[in-house]
Symmetry: D2
């Protein structure tokens, strides 16, 4: 049972203000849960929605001081910046649709707030350049949520490539395919689909911007090479779409590396199939997001190795990113959290499952006793009696 | 992107007091992270360790009021029970070694606190009976942390069995094998191993008590049948051990069901291999904890089905236990939380990775632009320029 | 592309006489195909069925001289033994139901023929002892078809255990579960089920005799230890059955090894799930028949290794049992053989698929040309023209 | 146990003459074993090698009449064509390097022989056109060995697509990656590599011709669509190579389908990774050659289905291509054939394993008896005594 007990770098939680992420949003609650997990972040203010009642409701559900729930990000930045240093947000988290990333981020930076922003950074390239210029000028930290770089084994893959385990890199293949946009659900009330397929909110790209950038960031991170040229085939598969929903491309990367990248949201039946392979002169390394706790390392002439999230088997920084011992897959914490939901429900008159009461605990003790007795009695059958 | 945004049953977090779980503990931090995930629990008091400085340090790291960090559970219960209702802990969480479960739980109940307790419930059967009697007398809720019942697909498996999908249950097989006690590490300083292999702290059973009860609780939960008789073969494989480290047994369950259960901690090379199969007259259902986001349902004469954590595919209560859309495996949240650690580290002068800065975001925007241009140009190679 | 081109030990095929295996049999055709694969065996005589016309038809379909197709095994042995040495069968293959194994084998040995026999060796233990006494007295070779010992990676597993890769063996688990006898199909015309569940033809055991012995032979072969004691739970799950269809047992083996064995034919939804695990002091080794070209070797503290059928990765004798290079799974030959069936069908006016004609070959040549041209033209789109 | 006992379309084996495939060849022995498996083909003549002694030796090892082993294909065709109809080969099998396919095939056709030829059909497109013209003029059957079309589940995949199970096809992805040419082994004595990387023997393409055509034939077969345009990126990764060893391309197919194809032999660590995905409007279908007995069918909104080689689950023609019941993976026959090699070795004084003798059979009978007795004795431990 070797693992990293505490990933925290600070003992006093950082104060966060959130822009976007009101009721009905997908990524907002993900950010909030992720921020809560290690106890290093606490939400203190927000402008969650342009819908007044949804905004207020989200603030209430988070237990925020109603004074710190704002109807606009401008108002939030102005008033929060005026607070004393020990109340003021340490940073701003942006989880709006793409078109607002740049204006919100620039406003935040202008008020002196570091920014943690959903991907893609902006709606288009000029916006991104402008934002970067401002960030560099202010010197304030800006982070982009390339989620998949958060997996420990992605870091381990990068480390193994850098360590020469597979030799000089020659070829990469990365795919990110989903099926949820196979049908025109943006025209039947799916809000997530609607803004992603609308150039005003999503920017110049559909699937390429929504998931292609994850593939690009992942393949560059793991291989250590950067894409220098692309030859792409894009289309709007579903009739009537403005933005691409299906894209394939040939890649050329630094140091003569070549490869392929596919980003498609019309791959019906696929859930969230992000997979990367990096081939070097002497081996290949493979990671798939739908089975994130396994890294496959195939060195020519050796048995295929399956590297798991085991602090004894991985190097830094992956090791310090683990919260659990080997064999407790990522997700164990969510399972555990479900127990708390059940119990808190129980003490609040809410939902309750069978299986977790003291009488269940008693049954197990009777089970233990019978087992010990049967074992001591050369396997004689013993009855369980609680 | 269909999922349950908010599993919470209450908007005001429940206040928790924790007994045990000081620095160096395994399960204490797991409880704290799990409790934090959904924002429904907040720690307000604790007696974490009999080591005074470790106790104080744990309290500090959790940001607790030093007045509410106690050197004994007795002191905690007495003084916390005296607080006003809106400050008093809503419940007590017990994460000590096994032998303390009963005395702490009974003291907590006596002071009017509901109890959420690590498994096994107590050290032995008489203690468990006494505790249950008290719990029933007080009427206060008591919960036992059978972690694996927290997985959504375990509930889905139970539901499918109850719905008759595999017909009347006939046979069950469950195994929980680990390798971490293959060597006598309890004699070379491993504290986790030491108390688990010591009858004074662990109780009458070793592997059976530590992991066998998880197997028992899981197989009963999924099959809906209860074990009535056991025929067991136990041993202390590693020389010098007092308690069993390896156990196999034949099972007889209610309604004529039969089966097997293995619980072993000397299965070298295994991490945390908890696997359950339930067979009915017309099919079988299979779940493995090391791949928890997949449930295999094999109905005779039909293709084998792999059921994933997809709100569109599972029934209640599994559906309401999901926090993410299909294809985002449990663990996505931990990955995401790692991004927050990185960013909070960055704004605090702490650790920082490549790959998440605004310049990385800018690169992606340049990538998008080149892709869109290449696509528009019938696949002509385009250079990426940030 | 390293592999064993030719497993043969002799250049002149051995002449085989077959007893049993007439039309409708399961294992007879399997034997014939397996015997044909390497060209080392040729069938020259047979007594395939007590049904006269089925017997004759099987002989005809195999292209046998009608004079060498016999209505009884006695007649066959008598007359074939009288043939000149260069015509006489080199051995006899027995593929009848169990109850005939002993009498046929003993008659064969009495006439001087080596015997290759289906498992289990006989109907019960006394028969087996008698047969062994005769075999030993004659000194003639007798083989038993423990099919699963034919897999190269089973030999590799044994070799790795013997080489100490996992340390001293401590525990074994083996399961062989099928679902095809979940319902009383022996009462609705399934001939395979009927004789297996009839004590007159199958002997004293049902599932234990039919598949339990495969599990026993496999676990002993891989672990190098022999089962010395069993504690078993058997039953006739399906009402009205005479013989066991479901069995679980605890095992004790030589050198203090312990373990479990399950053999069941009422595991609905399972096909042919034979899986073995052997644990030593420092690691475990795992093989599953439904994925036979992969051996999992987990040594504590090392990445999990997946060993495949690659001559460069396995030792003797597995290496010399491979017929194909790595990555060409066992089954490639069957796929290839299907091409021959198609083509022979075509030249005989029989069945024919799309996809294998010279026009398909031509298409591929046009594809190659277009690819080469596009590559030479910096990826310009090229049309394929056959 | 439902399966196709006999795939044969004719009872008298077809007579085959083989050109190429002398000692040291890879694909020749594969053809011979595949042709032998079902007993529908028998080799009667050959011109195996231009090396006189290797040629003679191969003929001897196959038990051929030395008169029918020829030093050139011309001689073979001339003299074999002159034989009486009931001796004359029914067809010619060509397993030479690519550059000889066309001249040999055309000579065979000119002498009236049907042709079964390795892929690619010829060295280049003009040769292929000429050969096709001749084949069409003669009306004689010509077959091309697109091996992977021989897998039952490839046919099932095609059938499911045609049946509309995944809706109208929109996208395909196919990859065929190997690692065996990662290093310049053609310059250190590997004959297989040498002719494949030599334009004189291989033709105009390297990886594209060797494995790319398998990918092309497979994706067209399964999807039912034909590739109409390609945009390719090719290179000679290993310095000094004349032909491509790494290739990626974008595809456009009939009916607006798009996709990708990768064919590379420098993917170090990959064995023979041929994988195809076909996406339609409502689902996707996936097959991987390294796990050929499983077809994944993901229909949106339904559990993922894993279709296995089970006659009860697949339609025609896959059903009639199965030789074994469900759960007996392709490869079972090879395992079984290894038993024959062992036994034939034993009666010939050759190699012999432990585990297959009558004493092993006897042990199993003692095992059965002890199990039955223990079961009858409520699980009392019983000793095994042979």
């Amino acid at each position: 049972l070797s693992f990293s007990e505490d990933c925290s770098v600070r003992r006093t939680p950082a104060r966060m203000a959130m822009i976007g992420g009101g009721g009905g949003a997908f990524i907002g609650p993900v950010h909030r849960r992720a921020a809560a997990l290690d106890g290093v972040v606490t939400i203190v203010a927000g402008a969650f929605s342009s819908d007044r009642s949804r905004n207020a409701e989200t603030g209430r559900s988070l237990g925020l001081d109603p004074q710190r729930v704002y109807s606009s990000y401008d108002a939030l930045f102005e008033r929060e910046a005026a607070r004393p240093a020990d109340e003021r947000p340490d940073f701003v988290c942006i989880v709006t649709p793409n078109h607002l990333h740049a204006p919100v981020a620039m406003a935040a930076l202008s008020h002196g707030f570091p920014v943690f922003c959903e991907k893609p950074l902006t709606r288009d390239l000029p916006d991104a350049r402008e934002l970067c210029a401002l960030a560099d000028a202010t010197g304030l930290p800006v982070g982009v949520a390339y989620t998949y770089l958060g997996y420990p084994l992605v870091h381990e893959a990068r480390r193994l490539v850098q360590a020469g385990t597979i030799g000089t890199v020659r070829r990469v293949d990365v795919r990110y395919t989903q099926g949820w946009l196979s049908q025109p659900i943006e025209r039947s009330g799916n809000a997530q689909a609607a803004w992603r397929m609308d150039a005003r909110t999503a920017g110049i790209a559909g699937a390429v911007g929504d998931i292609g950038v994850h593939a690009q960031s992942l393949v560059e991170f793991v291989s250590g090479e950067q894409i220098t040229e692309v030859s792409a085939d894009l289309r709007q598969t579903v009739r009537g779409r403005e933005l691409d929903d299906d894209c394939s491309m040939l890649l050329r990367l630094t140091n003569g590396v070549r490869g392929t990248l596919a980003a498609s949201q019309i791959c019906a039946g696929d859930d969230n199939r992000l997979e990367v392979s990096v081939y070097g002169e002497s081996g290949g390394i493979h990671w798939a997001q739908e089975r994130p706790d396994r890294l496959i390392l195939n060195v020519a002439g050796q048995p295929k190795r399956h590297i798991t999230c085991d602090a004894a088997l991985v190097g830094e920084p992956a090791r310090s990113m683990l919260r659990l011992p080997a064999g407790h897959p990522e997700g164990y914490l969510e399972a555990f959290a479900n127990l708390y939901l059940e119990f808190v429900g129980r003490i609040s008159g809410g939902k309750s499952w069978a299986g977790l009461s003291h009488h269940d605990g008693l049954r197990s003790m009777a089970f233990i006793k019978a087992v010990i007795q049967s074992g001591a009695g050369n396997g004689r059958w013993r009855t369980i009696q609680a």
